[in-house]
Symmetry: C2
Subunit: 197 residues, 2 copies
DNA sequence: ACCTGAACACCGTTCAAGT
DNA sequence: ACCTGAACACCGTTCAAGT
């Protein structure tokens, strides 16, 4: 049975993987459903069974991007369980590395879509934000700042890391300038909140 | 003479203006050279005389975006010449308003292009950064921080404002949350740098 | 449930030709 | 110098038909 040993039930996964590669190597503009279909060895109409249109594919990519980034940040932070400052640095540094590795994907994740994000994308973005909140929450027990500052500190830090990533991926600054900037931001934020009260 | 009273020497300007409108109302994906040509009443090959290809048009849009944003920030800051904190708040708030007004354009300005920004776009981005540096520089005379902190404070602030804008345009947070966040960021940055030394 | 393949409308890009 | 219009290759999307 199944003279097409490859995609039987996993065409969706194959398309997504290939799409991620194209995105990484040639950018969004080079992403075409028909080309993905050719690469997967199926007819040009086949992707339709898994993605209603091109933007649905882009949404799925953005969704997976958020989930991966959340995982990578959580993983980085967990490798320095005792030291909160170190964990925070590791997590933000993981964000920046993701940005450098997948610039077009990050663009997609924060694209200004006219109708706003789909529910799936929104949920995945919330997952990332939740992960960041968890990481920042650990700073309270470490005595780095007050519990009631966690919310806005998390928002502020995620915005700043995203902004620094945008500067790096758009080639406004180098990766190492970006790294130094992230370190600066964390230090100044922590100094700033404690100086404020 | 000139039975086509409209575009004689200004087709380029007409195309750009129409392109900005399409970008604002329907996003980048809806931007087509052929449609712009139709709207301008010229043949589909005509834009070629002014933009070598679609990405050259996008570059021109990004370039103009940077120049406009720089102007708007400078204008906002100059309306509070005496009070540096007020001027800084006005300038960053102008950034955020630009982001809300032109989300797709801002995306274009910070897009992660595979080959990096063109020279024209890079120069325009430098202009924006120069404007921000000038605005931050005024804080030294006002005694808000040390002259040698201006560089990284400017980088940090521009990254943060860009990141907050991205959160707003991607509908992760509301505009008013974004405004509050910008105010927070400025206050914490200024508290942080002075606490550091 | 998933994929094929024809059909349609639209696009970017090139280029010889006009003015 | 700028614009026209044909030509080409490619695309997204739809849909009846197959398995």
């Amino acid at each position: 049975m199944s003279h097409r040993p490859f995609h039987h039930g996993n065409l969706r996964a194959v398309l997504l993987e290939e799409a991620e590669a194209v995105l990484r190597e040639r950018g969004v503009d080079a992403l075409s459903l028909r080309e993905l279909a050719r690469a997967a060895g199926v007819s040009h109409g086949a992707p339709r069974s898994h993605f209603i249109d091109r933007s649905a594919l882009l949404d799925a990519l953005a969704e997976r991007g958020f989930l991966r980034l959340a995982d990578e940040m959580r993983g980085a932070a967990s490798r320095a369980p005792g030291d909160h400052a170190l964990a925070l640095g590791a997590a933000t540094s993981a964000y920046l590395r993701f940005a450098v590795r997948e610039p077009a994907l990050l663009d997609l994740m924060f694209a200004a879509k006219t109708d706003g994000p789909s529910e799936a994308v929104r949920n995945a973005a919330d997952r990332l934000f939740g992960t960041m909140t968890d990481i920042m929450g650990a700073g309270v027990e470490a005595g780095a700042y007050d519990a009631r500052d966690v919310g806005r500190l998390t928002m502020l830090l995620s915005a700043t890391v995203q902004g620094i990533s945008a500067l790096v991926t758009s080639r406004r600054i180098t990766t190492s300038q970006g790294e130094a900037l992230v370190d600066d931001a964390i230090r100044i934020f922590l100094a700033g909140v404690s100086a404020e009260r």
